[in-house]
């Protein structure tokens, strides 16, 4: 009788683990077909922030897929900046995050904000990956070499070399006004970002 109970318990445990392991294809778009690498469930956050709201945002210069180099300071006095770090190209969730921002340009415009997308991938990978998303209106930056230098400076470089799924809002004075280091497994709801942009006024 005890053995039977144990078997049932083992089976239930197995059912649960299987059920959980199949929950990682979060509504992936058909546009990426079979090219999305299943990463499974990851540790939600795996780094320690090195900046906080109210700090001056550390400046950086990174190459972008359009060929030009982008520096944070070039927006000083002109635009608010939203930094969107995503973990890596060709992974679930990330692949569906920027295409959403791509139809939300109006919201960024209304709040005099530019979006900068950043990953630690190299330019050719970023180029191929973002090409699947249609034409993006915002710059996509490569924080590949020295590897993840900017992500590390902000404190969003994970122990495996990928970046967190993190959003930073930097105002026109160059001050950090909002930080969301999100659970890497989930997409941050758009309304949270919009609400943070509203507060800049």
């Amino acid at each position: 009788m005890k053995e039977k109970t144990l078997s049932i318990l083992i089976l239930l445990g197995l059912m649960l683990s299987l059920w959980i392991s199949t929950q990682d294809l979060y509504g992936v778009s058909e546009v990426f077909k079979e090219n999305i690498y299943p990463v499974g469930k990851l540790k939600p956050v795996d780094s320690q922030l090195k900046v906080k709201v109210g700090d001056r945002a550390p400046d950086f210069t990174l190459p972008s897929i359009s060929g030009e180099k982008i520096s944070l300071r070039q927006y000083r006095g002109k635009k608010n900046v939203v930094l969107s770090f995503v973990p890596a190209a060709w992974t679930p969730v990330c692949s569906d995050q920027w295409p959403g921002y791509n139809i939300a340009k109006e919201i960024f415009d209304q709040h005099e904000a530019i979006l900068l997308g950043i990953t630690v991938d190299n330019l050719p990978t970023l180029f191929a990956w973002t090409n699947q998303m249609g034409k993006l209106w915002f710059p996509v930056l490569s924080d590949f070499w020295p590897h993840g230098k900017v992500a590390k400076r902000y404190g969003v470089l994970r122990s495996d070399g990928t970046a967190e799924r993190a959003l930073f809002i930097i105002d026109k004075k160059g001050m950090i006004r909002y930080i969301d280091v999100h659970d890497i497994n989930k997409r941050p709801p758009l309304e949270d970002l919009v609400a943070a942009l509203e507060k800049l006024k």
Partner: protein
């Protein structure tokens, strides 16, 4: 010993039988038994032939055929296809033989109400869209990729039958309407 062998066998067969929610709905099956909130706008309520508040089931929709698009605001192909799906709606509404018989809804998987509204506004989508913030409906649909189209025949006594499913590959309004009429027997 026999018990252990039996247990191992049971575990091995488990992945095949144990995850029914992971299988996308197929042609010939009835539509997954899901409930959606009755839309607030009177125009959408009237379009679906519903009244009051609360939840409804798919076979309650007043139509002979229902086209369901599983989409996401974050999905590039859904964005690209949106104008063509709107045209499908227009073609149906402008055709006296089809108006009222074929209806359309969209389900935004992993989308918050705000995100669905963003999609609706961007593409001025005239038919009802429902958010599925926590992927609960998405599970009922076997976690399909997006966009995923289903053509459902609504039969009497609260039953339904899926007559066509398709992942991506939207062929444009004219060809898709032709297909819908054919598979549903309206033509």
């Amino acid at each position: 010993m026999k018990k252990i062998v039996f247990l191992v066998l049971l575990i091995l067969t488990f992945p095949m039988v144990g995850i029914p929610s992971n299988k996308p709905p197929e042609k010939g099956e009835s539509f997954p038994s899901i409930q959606l909130p009755i839309p607030k706008p009177p125009s959408e309520k009237a379009y679906l032939g519903l009244s009051g508040e609360g939840l409804f089931r798919i076979p309650q929709i007043k139509a002979k055929v229902l086209i369901v698009e599983i989409f996401s605001m974050y999905c590039p192909h859904c964005q690209k296809d949106a104008p063509g799906v709107n045209e499908l709606y227009d073609r149906i509404e402008k055709n006296p033989d089809l108006k009222g018989k074929i209806k359309l809804i969209g389900i935004g998987v992993g989308n918050t109400p705000f995100e669905v509204e963003m999609f609706k506004k961007t593409y001025q989508i005239p038919f009802p869209l429902f958010p599925d913030r926590d992927y609960l409906l998405h599970k009922a649909f076997g976690e399909v990729r997006t966009p995923y189209f289903m053509v459902v025949k609504i039969k009497g006594e609260g039953t339904s039958e899926i007559v066509h499913t398709q992942l991506g590959g939207y062929p444009g309004a004219e060809a898709f309407l032709e297909l819908v009429q054919k598979v549903s027997g309206l033509k």
